[in-house]
Structures are given as structure tokens and as C-alpha cells.
């Protein structure tokens, strides 16, 4: 007789143990998630494509639809790739499969991962499991909603300026944006190559760390990857000796909701009780110039990366009497408003005569941001802030105002610019919706983030199951 499987509450580690102890079979586990998807995904729309990968005894996993999966449609949330079926797996998918993981499906994303709410998906938005009238965050809102809605035990996301951390915050789960270069981007649809990183989304920090251990490490197919220190699954329940820095500008920034500040303050009090030393620090220019710098660098790189969608080799092709007309028609029909906006901004910023003033200057600001963080990490092991200034906002609220949408990532962007790892864990509720706590460390300090996140998550006792689904 098999045990009852509660996909809303079951962690990947618990599921792994149940399968190992033969209390449930891999097929039963997979079927439980398929049933949950059938029940709740019509409302949440976390998935764009379901896979039929039920063989074997490994754990199921959801994969963000910018990550290439052999034989499974990979749209990147765009009409441009509506019928694109990769002929090879991304390295991260290959590594998941090598550990027996089986793909449940491909999760919704803002088109080409450009957005903070999944409302830029060409296939319609994902809904937040805590309140379906609200956004799940983005761009990886599908992966975050799948994990919190019990539609996957864990998932892969990708993060350029906050696309893993911010949805994890808004959906009340755990997301890691790893150090740049620790996880391969081979086979991942490119947005801004000097910033893009794949990372795990999970119900708790240990699952997140375990999935990171599976996907990380040097890959000969991505020359930006490096060898990674061994991943330590966190066990310690205290924070003795840990120095936590609280950057004033990231915790008092205009636009941070009072309920978000309160939850973060309580988490910091909890950290002190666990033995951490908490002190103030400052990152003035990283916060003041981070978003502006990001919105020069990311669109510039995107405009170059998205040049490949020309209707010739793969993806959509629209009719045109000659080659030039075909390419223009394809790009007009295939791209939505946000990629078009970023291609235009990026092309302008890279154009002759403007390159130094825009892209060149932004790359210098990036060095400045990195140096500012380096200085803080001489005195602190981890820095802390809210992940998102707000809780999940209503669908439609910011769609017409791109600048308001961009400010969602005010607090996640600076560390991305510096190539630093960031972990978001849920730290409480504000107006009934989850608040994310962002932990940032020096490059390759993932183990410190896991240790800190694990001890805090145990002490805070946040219930990751959305209240309305309990």
C-alpha cells in the first residue's frame, strides 16, 4: 500500500527518501504531480508544455522554457520559437537526467526571460498560487508557481537581473541565482550573456543546495564556466560567528512596502538570536546606478543575441518577397513588445558614436558596483535586504508602465551586475502574501548562503504551502 503523496508539502529530499525506501515508486510520484497539474494548472498556467517522461525511479522536475530540452518544445515564451524542438539537451538538463531526474514539463516565462511578472509571455501570464489575481513574479514565474502550487517538487530557472530570486520571493519559495560561471549556459536561450545564469528553485534551502550540486560545475561547452567548490548540504541550526551586513540603501529604498520591511527586520532579529552579528553597511552607488547600468548592458547584449532570429535556420519564418523582407516580417511577427523595446534600446546603445557613452560607460559602472561590494565583504560574510520591494502585485497593474516594472528588480540587480550569488528565502507574510529575504555573498560563497538560509528558514518556520491551498 503506497503512502499518500501531498505534492504541496512534500520536499524533494522527502520524496527521494520515500522512493529509496520503496514506499512509493517513481511512477506513482510522477503520476501524483501529473494529477496535481491537471487539477491546478488550468488556474495557475505554470506550464507551457507537458512532457511524457514517466520512466524510471528518479524525481520529477520542472524546467523553465528558456532551457533547451531534446525532443520537447522550447519556446522561451515567444511566438518566435512556438514550434522549436531542440535536437540536444542543455548541459543542465543532461546533468539532471544523468541523476535520474525526469522532466514534468516546461514552465512559463516572460518572452526571452524579459520581464518581472510573466505577463510578457506570448502564451499568457502565470498566476500566483497564493492569490491567482496576482503575478507570480518573473521572468521565471512558471517555475516558482509550479513549486509553490505543488505542481513540481523543484524546478530550474534562469536569472539575468532577478528572474529566479524575485519570483521565489513573490511565490514564497527558495531560489538561488548562483555565482556567474558556476552553472553552464550551454543550450539555454541567450538573453544577456554576461549576466545569464541558470539556478534552482525549491521548497527549502537543502533541496535548493542539492539541485545546485547536480547542475553546477565546469562544462567544456561553456567556456565561462569554472570549477566549483564542493556543495555542502546545510545542517547547522545556528549562525554563530556569521557577520551579516545590512546595506542601508537596500533596506530603506523608496518603494519598499512597510510590511516587507517589517518581515525583513524580524528575520534579522531572528538571525541575531541565532548568534549572528548584524551590522549596517553601505552600497550607495550600486543601488543608485544599478538599474540604469543594467538597462544599458542587458538590452545591448540582447540586441546582439536576438539577431539570430532571422527566419533562416530555425524558429518562425514569415513570408516576404525577398530575403530582407522575410527577415523583417519574421521579426515583426515573432517578437512581442518587450523584446522589440530592448532590441531597439540595445541597438541604439551599441551604435557607432554612442557605444562609449552608453555600453562602455555601463561596463565601467559595473566595475564600480563590483568594487563597492568587494569592500563590504571585507567586513561581512553575507549581506541582506528584501528580495523585492513589494509583495506580489495584481495582474495588469504595471503592464503599461515599463519603468515601474523595471524597478521590481532594484534590489536584485546590483549583485547580478557583480556576478555574485544570491539566495531568496521566504521570511514572512505581508497582507497575506509572502515576503522574500535576499542573502548575497561573495563569489563562490553559495555554501555560506545555504548555511545562513537553512538556519533562518528553520527558525522562522514559514509555511511554504499557500494559505488558500492548505
Amino acid at each position: 500500500v503506497s503512502v499518500e503523496i501531498d505534492t504541496l508539502r512534500l520536499t524533494a529530499e522527502e520524496a527521494w527518501r520515500l522512493v529509496e525506501a520503496r514506499q512509493i515508486s517513481g511512477a506513482e510520484l510522477f503520476a501524483a504531480y501529473v494529477t496535481a497539474i491537471g487539477e491546478r494548472d488550468p488556474e495557475l498556467h505554470a506550464y507551457l508544455t507537458l512532457a511524457d517522461d514517466a520512466g524510471g525511479d528518479g524525481l520529477p522536475i520542472a524546467i523553465k522554457d528558456v532551457i533547451g530540452t531534446k525532443g520537447i518544445r522550447t519556446t522561451a515564451g515567444s511566438k518566435m520559437l512556438e514550434s522549436y524542438v531542440p535536437v540536444y539537451d542543455a548541459t543542465v538538463v543532461e546533468r539532471c537526467k544523468a541523476r535520474g531526474l525526469r522532466i514534468l514539463g516546461k514552465t512559463n516565462t516572460d518572452e526571452f526571460a524579459m520581464g518581472s511578472s510573466t505577463e510578457n509571455s506570448a502564451y499568457g501570464p502565470t498566476h500566483n498560487p497564493w492569490d491567482p489575481t496576482r503575478v507570480p513574479g518573473g521572468s521565471g514565474g512558471g517555475s516558482a508557481a509550479a513549486v509553490s502550487g505543488g505542481l513540481a517538487p523543484w524546478a530550474l530557472g534562469s536569472d539575468t537581473g532577478g528572474s529566479i530570486k524575485q519570483p521565489a520571493a513573490l511565490c514564497g519559495n527558495v531560489g538561488l541565482r548562483p555565482t556567474y560561471g558556476t552553472v553552464s549556459r550551454y543550450g539555454v536561450v541567450a538573453f544577456a550573456s554576461s549576466l545569464d545564469q541558470v539556478g534552482p528553485v525549491a521548497k527549502n534551502v537543502r533541496d535548493c543546495a542539492f539541485l545546485y550540486s547536480i547542475i553546477s560545475g565546469r562544462d567544456a561547452n561553456d567556456t565561462t564556466t569554472v570549477d566549483v567548490p564542493p556543495v555542502e548540504l546545510p545542517t547547522a541550526e545556528d549562525l554563530k560567528g556569521l557577520r551579516i551586513g545590512v546595506p542601508t540603501e537596500m533596506n530603506d529604498a523608496e518603494g519598499i512596502e512597510p510590511g516587507v520591511s517589517d518581515a525583513v527586520r524580524k528575520a534579522l532579529e531572528q538571525a541575531e538570536q541565532l548568534g549572528a552579528h548584524v551590522g549596517e553597511c553601505s552600497l550607495p552607488r550600486s543601488v543608485a546606478y544599478g538599474v540604469a547600468c543594467y538597462y544599458l548592458i542587458a538590452p545591448s547584449e540582447a540586441s546582439s543575441n536576438l539577431a539570430r532570429y532571422d527566419g533562416a535556420r530555425y524558429g518562425l519564418r514569415s513570408d516576404g518577397t525577398d530575403f530582407q523582407e522575410m527577415v523583417m516580417a519574421t521579426r515583426r511577427d515573432g517578437f512581442g513588445d518587450e523584446p522589440k523595446r530592448r532590441i531597439m534600446i540595445g541597438t541604439y546603445a551599441l551604435s557607432s558614436g554612442y557605444y562609449d557613452a552608453y555600453y562602455g560607460t555601463a561596463q565601467k559602472v559595473r566595475t564600480m558596483i563590483r568594487r563597492e561590494h568587494d569592500a563590504v565583504f571585507r567586513d561581512f560574510d553575507v549581506i541582506v535586504s528584501p528580495t523585492s520591494p513589494t509583495v506580489a502585485f495584481p495582474l495588469g497593474e504595471k503592464v503599461g508602465d515599463p519603468l515601474a516594472m523595471y524597478l521590481n528588480d532594484l534590489l536584485t540587480i546590483p549583485s547580478c551586475m557583480a556576478g555574485l550569488p544570491g539566495l531568496s528565502i521566504p521570511c514572512g507574510l505581508s497582507e497575506g502574501l509572502p515576503v522574500g529575504l535576499q542573502l548575497i555573498g561573495p563569489q563562490f560563497a553559495e555554501n555560506t548562503l545555504f548555511r545562513t538560509g537553512h538556519a533562518l528558514e528553520r527558525a522562522l518556520g514559514f509555511d511554504v504551502v499557500p494559505a488558500r491551498l492548505r
Binding site: Y84, V85, V87, Y88, T179, Y180, G181, S194, A220, T223, T224, V226, R285, Y289, A292, C293, L296, G311, A312, R313, Y314, G315, L316, R317, G320, T321, D322, F323, Q324, E325, M326, A357, G360, T361, A362, Q363, K364, V365, R366, T367, M368, R370, R371, A418, G419, Q443
Partner: protein
């Protein structure tokens, strides 16, 4: 960003302090022609077919 004095700041070329990434020069499996053309909107033999330029 134009407000800042960046005269002594070098641009970031790469987020990590890494130099060259070398690989052994060894043959490895790659896509077949049919795989490479699998998503092509149009094909003629071993070429991608497009409208006249």
C-alpha cells in the same frame, strides 16, 4: 550613469577573474546534418533555403 567620474575605473569584461579557457583539441560527437536542419523553415539539400536576396 553619465554623472559619475569613471576616469580611473576599467570596464568589466567578465564578472570573474579568469583568463583563457583551454580545451583539449579532441574530436567529439556533433549534430548530423539532419539534426541541424530539423528546425529549418526550408531546406534544399544541405543548405538553408531562403527567398532571394
Amino acid at each position: 550613469v553619465s554623472e559619475l567620474d569613471l576616469s580611473d575605473v576599467p570596464p568589466t569584461a567578465h564578472p570573474l577573474e579568469i583568463q583563457n579557457a583551454w580545451a583539449e583539441d579532441e574530436p567529439a560527437p556533433c549534430l548530423t546534418h539532419d539534426e541541424a536542419f530539423a528546425n529549418a523553415p526550408d531546406r534544399e539539400g544541405d543548405l538553408f533555403r531562403v527567398p532571394p536576396a
